[in-house]
Amino acid sequence: MLKKDLEMLVALQDLDLMIEEADDVEKLGFNITGCSELKNAREELAGRLSKPLLFRYERLRSKLKRAIVPVKNDICLGCFLRQPTSIGTKGREDDEIFTCENCGRMLYWID
């Protein structure tokens, strides 16, 4: 159940990053017309998350800009610090959401 939450958080963050950079991307010469649709989709997705989890995400985002980061080869790609290998095994399989002990971001294993 929680892994599903994590995937929703990842989708939410992907959306937030897109909204955040839409102006910059438009300046490069792309045609941006659907900002309001995207914001609606964002709110709809946020509404499907539990309140405490959404709160945790928003708090991390306001503090660290990226709330969830990929982990590859045991490295947190938020702060580039190595994670204990023991966490990696659990992080890939457990239903719990793990955070980086160094930067506090939620971790998403991609390898």
Binding site: D14, M18, V25, G29, A41, G78
Partner: protein
Amino acid sequence: MQGSELQKYFHEPLFIADIKATTKNDAIEELLNLFLETKHIRNRQIVLEMLHTRETLGSTGIGKGVAIPHGRTTAASDVLIAFGKSEAGIDFDAIDGKPVHLFFMVIAPPHDEDNVYLPILGSLVTTLNIKKNRDKLKKVETFKEFLSVITGE
């Protein structure tokens, strides 16, 4: 960003001289599959969703036969670009309504250490605004030929 710098984000396994797809959705999937086959990405669904969402923001078909589908995703660890070419052209809801022949798919992690994502997009737009480059790219058959156009050699 110069072409010489841009070239390091391209890799031969992320190059298709002849895209099989004939629709926008299939073209996006065909390019995305390259990232999956090379294990740069594992969670196909999340990235596919992100790319489709990006298209609702406005088609990445920027006109003159070029599309640059792109986005950051938490499911990626490196900035990488896939290239594909369609001789017949694909309807991509491009801003000028013309079929797309040249596809550049840019996938980036939520934050890249060197902040290259936006400069890469900008550099691609600049390179592809030049007709001579587009004409050359439409004819490339090998990855080597492709890189020589990108680096301007």
